[in-house]
């Protein structure tokens, strides 16, 4: 088998399409594939040594995006005419040249099939032409419906219809079509009578989480959300619902945890934690510690086709996390169909705040349904979205042989052989880039736009000076500007008041969560004395971080547990000897009892991370996310506990303070130096703050209100 992959984004490490293609290319045997990429000259594509053995040609693609032309009213017609002219010229010149180059490359590589990603006019126009000229079967791959691309890039109507027709023809004449979802595959099977297989970006089985899905009906509910915010309006409705319900669901307080490349839209509420970007395995692990996973999808009718036929990668991640999903999107969308068919979540099929709230409460109130849906989510991931299932789908798509003998995934090596020339990342040559219209236009715009803006400013100034010489205009100008200034002052005042309001709400949240937390008992005398002896008294910690909600990881000196007494069930983490208690804004939690593995697993963080007890990390992470601690602290006498604390802090995107009595010898633990989220405090130099807590006049220890 030798495949010619014709794509607009080659396998790479920095673009989503490139990552998904990378996963698929790994299923192809070594020397079984070559790549002809027609790339946008202004995109930065980072290829990796992993695919260095794959013969690759990169060419610049002609301009496909006409949205830079004015799109307002009557001028839009003129822009359409320009776009039409441009596309006609491109089709007759650049595309033909690219087809010839691709065919020559394919012949040179002796390919026996062509795999084309139909994304953009260029690859769509090239697909059938290349396959026909090479005389080999065509396998087409569709990410999104072309109509969405045409709208997003403001392609004129005639060109859009022509390219759509070419797209349809390419699908019709394909040996097999890889689609983004099952509904899309069904559509193509029905409409074009062609074999179609959904090939959805999947993950290794090792990413599957099996969290404890027994919910005791107490404690805060954590709602998790990962990925991009292409459905911002839907998210804002969730915020509206939460604010209306005073951040409770069925009487239980709610926290929301968000991770991804962009901050949530709108002002960030104090009940929402933004953890930033996380790797896929970390994201799955964090999400597995949330109670409910929230998946918004656009209700916008303009996005209907995309909603119906695309499949969000975040849903696959959610299924890997093994928790029920509340989907906030239209009932006709493909994720809604999937969730309904696999019964792994609930669907809020109206955008309004009350609709999403109802589904959240429905899930929280029904423990049996919750457990069933969580279990179904875990099964759905195993059945449909592991690399094994992706490999099966890909092989069915490309017409390759089946799985390896042992039933596992067969991943092939495409790196260059040892001793070969060092890897040079493949890029579009400077000459090719500079010859392309897109790059030239981009560079001209980069230079010209600031100069144009400057010219406009100057011109406005001159015109203003001239006009102000007219008395009536001058007085009007001053009056209007007076009003503008007043408006600005009022807006500033509003912003100040909103900030004050947010801070007050924050204080209220903190005080109510500390005060009302029935699941963390107030510290007893014995416990306070114990932490004093460990050098991490509440007073010391409060002195270090005044007014900040802090969690201190502790380990009891003899490995035993504080007598549990009649502590509430929730106050104990699972297993013997784990407990937690609080003193004002400082909460203490016992680290798990385990042998110190850090030294045995070497000094590299990867090895240490793999050796950590995942169950304990999960519980501690969940506790941190529930309580929204702002700072984590650990003393250096806890051995491998520091590693657990560091891992929890890393996952929760919190900073960890390591307090040491003696100067910590970093050279003994170089993995610590590699962690950039850790601060160090020398207990001795921090002063006499570390002393036994003072009692009040009656000899009682000050105990916080619970």
């Amino acid at each position: 088998m030798k495949i010619l992959l014709l794509t607009d984004i080659p396998p790479c490490e920095n673009l989503t399409a490139g990552l998904v293609l990378s996963a698929m290319v790994r299923f192809v045997p070594r020397d079984g594939i070559c790549c002809f990429a027609v790339v946008n000259p202004i995109l930065d594509i980072r290829t990796t040594p992993e695919f260095a053995n794959i013969p690759t040609r990169i060419c610049a693609k002609p301009n496909e995006n006409w949205s830079w032309l004015p799109q307002r009213r009557i001028i839009r017609k003129l822009s359409s005419v320009i776009a039409f002219a441009g596309e006609s010229f491109t089709e007759k010149t650049s595309v033909r040249s690219l087809v010839d180059k691709a065919v020559a490359f394919g012949r040179e590589q002796k390919v026996d099939r062509v795999w084309v990603v139909l994304q953009g006019q260029t690859t769509i126009r090239m697909a059938q032409a290349v396959a026909d000229k090479l005389g080999v079967p065509l396998h087409t791959h569709v990410w999104d419906p072309f109509s969405w691309w045409a709208k997003a890039n403001c392609i004129d109507g005639i060109t859009a219809r022509r390219v759509q027709s070419t797209f349809d023809e390419a699908i019709r004449s394909s040996r097999c079509v890889a689609t983004a979802s099952e509904p899309m595959a069904e559509l193509y099977r029905d409409r074009f009578k062609v074999e179609a297989v959904p090939v959805i970006s999947s993950h290794s089985q090792s990413m599957a989480q099996t969290p404890d899905i027994t919910d005791h009906g107490r404690g805060p509910i954590i709602i998790g959300m990962a990925g991009q915010f292409y459905a911002a309006g839907e998210w804002l409705q969730l915020m509206r619902a939460m604010r209306a319900s005073k951040w409770t669901i069925a009487g239980r307080p709610v926290r929301i945890v968000v991770m991804g490349p962009q901050r949530p839209p709108g002002a960030l509420d104090s009940h929402v934690s933004f953890l930033g970007w996380k790797t896929q395995p970390d994201a799955a692990f964090i999400l597995s510690q949330c109670n409910i996973l929230y998946c918004p999808y656009p209700f916008d009718p303009a996005m209907k086709e995309v909603s119906q036929f695309s499949f969000p990668s975040k849903l696959v991640l959610y299924l890997a996390a093994g928790r029920p999903i509340v989907f906030h999107g239209p009932a006709y969308s493909s994720p809604a169909h999937y969730i309904k068919s696999r019964q792994c979540g609930l669907i809020a099929d109206r955008m309004i705040a009350s609709a999403i709230y109802n589904e959240l409460e429905r899930l929280v109130q029904n423990a049996d349904a919750y457990r069933t849906m969580a279990f179904n989510a875990q099964s759905a991931f195993r059945d449909d979205f592991t690399l094994e299932s992706m490999e099966r789908s890909f092989n069915a798509f490309i017409g390759a042989k089946g799985l390896s003998n042992d039933g596992g995934v067969l991943i092939h090596d495409h790196t260059k052989q040892s001793g070969a020339d060092p890897f040079i990342p493949l890029q579009l040559s400077d000459a090719s880039r500079r010859r392309s219209f897109v790059w030239i236009a981009h560079e001209v715009a980069k230079t010209a736009l600031p100069r144009y803006a400057h010219f406009r400013r100057q011109l406005k100034g001159v015109v203003r000076k001239l006009l102000l010489k007219i008395p009536r205009l001058g007085s009007l100008y001053h009056e209007i500007h007076g009003l503008y200034a007043e408006k600005k002052a009022l807006e500033r005042r509003i912003a100040e008041l909103e900030e004050k309001n947010a801070r007050l709400n924050d204080l209220l949240t903190k005080s109510s969560s500390i005060g009302a937390a029935k699941w963390v008992d107030a510290a007893t005398e014995e416990e306070v004395a114990l932490v004093d002896s460990l050098g991490i008294s509440p007073k010391f910690i409060s002195g270090l971080y005044p007014g900040i909600k802090t969690l201190v990881f502790i380990k009891l000196p003899d490995g035993g547990a504080i007598a549990a007494g009649d502590r509430q069930q929730d106050n104990r983490l699972s297993g013997v000897g784990r407990t937690r208690f609080r003193y004002t804004s400082v909460t203490y939690v016992q680290l798990p009892l385990s042998e110190d593995r850090a030294d045995k697993t070497g000094d590299e963080w990867d090895g240490i991370e793999r050796s950590l007890p995942r169950g304990a990390v999960a519980e501690l992470l969940r506790f941190v996310l529930q309580e929204r601690f702002e700072r984590l602290v650990v003393a250096d006498n806890v051995g491998s506990g520091i590693a657990i604390a560091a891992e929890v802090a890393h996952l929760a995107s919190q900073r960890l303070t390591v307090i040491s009595k003696a100067k910590l010898r970093l050279s003994d633990k170089s993995w610590l130096a590699s962690q950039d989220h850790i601060d160090y405090v020398d207990a001795a130099s921090a002063g006499a703050a570390n002393e036994v807590s003072e009692t009040d006049a009656d000899g009682e220890l000050p105990v916080s209100v619970s």
């Binding site: 209306a244 319900s245 109206r350 705040a353 009350s354 709230y357 109802n358």
Partner: protein, 416 residues
């Protein structure tokens, strides 16, 4: 004897229950062949529905003229195509023209005398606008009995920038003096208002209550409906139409919910507008469907609820009230509108003093805490609906009216 009637209205499916669309098959049984001529919205593909003045640019011009009217605080005056209406094919073919909503921006009332002399005309007054200087409902204002002017609230629909209510009133009077038409209203409340209105002096007013298909709107399985709509178990359910117009009493209803016993946790189902009950999220379950013409949804909502709230501050009839009654649900309303009479309060429905949110809250609590009483009232509501609101009765009365008008017209030898 076969009679051809053209029903003239703003739209076909919007308001289908009272604009003659749903009535058509029942009229056929009485020898009345009904067609519809609509202006703004033709949503069905029924062959008996046609669009009036359906030539390019007409609606753009009409909208422009409506804007001009609004600028000069006029209403229903500047639509010259109205004079061409008698010459429309559907009107020429018909024996009788039955006007419905003609005051939402496409018909000039000045053309009414001209029209009514060319075709026997019946005009259903769906609201009191024909009797006022500008407003659809005068609410507590009584100046419509005196010729309007010095309007206390120009912002009520249809709003005016300047007070020209007296002028509009006088103009309507002149128009009506020259108009030959039979007026139909749906309730005694409207008839009483017409009896007191100087503008209705010249008209003969007939009361024909609207009717329903009682096979469509009938008691249904509450549990099944609740499961379909996603009602939380164990919640008492109230259904209402959420409209923020000044006439529908939404504000009063929301205040009433705020004043309910804190131990009561309701489910509130609403249609039409959304977002009005967000403050209750977390306390009461809110199920909002937004605007919908889906009859199945409507029937489910009636079946799922325990009672229907219609806290209108002004209502000429109350179609949804009789729908709720037909589905065996009692209706709660304010006094001073047509609704207590329509819903047969206090025997079946319940009414409270006009605008009194506290009283509304108490009556809701009463129905929630006395489910047996609520159910009994619902059953009685159904019996009364069968007796008074059968669409077949409406069709019979309407057909009788058509026959009477036609025979009067033949006797007087009018030119058609």
């Amino acid at each position: 004897m076969s009679i051809n009637v053209v029903q003239i209205n703003s739209g076909d499916l919007i308001g289908r229950r009272f604009n003659g669309y749903d009535l058509k098959p029942h009229l056929e049984g009485h020898g009345v062949h009904s067609s519809q001529l609509v202006y703004w919205n033709k949503q069905s593909d029924a062959d008996f529905v046609s669009k009036a003045f359906d030539y390019p640019g007409n609606r753009i011009v009409t909208r422009g003229l409506t804007r001009v009217e609004s600028r000069f605080s006029l209403h229903a005056r500047l639509h010259p195509h109205s004079w061409a209406l008698p010459y429309h094919t559907k009107v020429r073919e018909a024996d009788i023209a039955h006007l419905h909503i003609i005051h939402d921006g496409y018909f000039s009332l000045s053309a009414l005398p001209f029209f009514s002399y060319r075709k026997p005309t019946i005009w259903t007054w769906h609201d009191p606008w024909p009797m006022t200087g500008h407003c659809i409902y005068p609410l507590q204002c009584q100046r419509w009995m005196q010729g309007c002017g010095s309007c206390p609230d120009l912002s009520l629909p249809f709003p005016m920038r300047k007070d020209r209510t007296a002028e509009q009133f006088a103009w309507k009077r002149k128009v009506y003096e020259k108009t030959k038409a039979e007026i139909v209203v749906a309730s005694d409340w409207m008839r009483n208002m017409a009896a007191r209105s100087p503008l209705a002096e010249n008209f003969n007013v007939t009361v024909i209550p609207f009717g329903l298909d009682l096979e469509r709107y009938k008691p249904a399985d509450k549990a099944a409906a609740r499961a379909r709509l996603g009602v939380f178990p164990g919640r008492p359910v109230v259904f209402l139409r959420a409209s923020s117009t000044p006439f529908k009493g939404l504000k009063e209803f929301v205040t009433a919910v705020e004043r309910l016993d804190p131990d009561i946790r309701l489910c509130i189902i609403s249609l039409q507008e959304t977002g009005h009950f967000d403050r209750f999220i977390g306390k009461h379950q809110i199920i909002e469907f937004g605007w919908s013409n889906d009859e199945n949804l409507l029937v489910d909502a009636y079946a799922a609820c325990d009672f229907f709230a219609m806290p209108s501050l002004a209502e000429a009839f109350g179609m949804m009230a009789i729908e709720a009654m037909a589905c065996a649900r009692p209706v709660i309303s304010f006094e001073g509108t047509s609704l207590p009479g329509i819903s047969f309060a206090p025997d079946a429905g319940l009414s409270v003093p006009y605008g009194d949110s506290d009283a509304l809250a108490r009556v809701m609590e009463r129905l929630v805490l006395n489910p047996v009483d609520c159910e009994e009232r619902g059953k009685l509501s159904r019996v009364l609906a069968e007796r008074h609101y059968d669409i077949r009765d409406q069709a019979r009365l309407t057909a009788d009216l058509y026959k009477r008008i036609l025979s009067q017209d033949k006797r007087s030898g009018s030119v058609v």
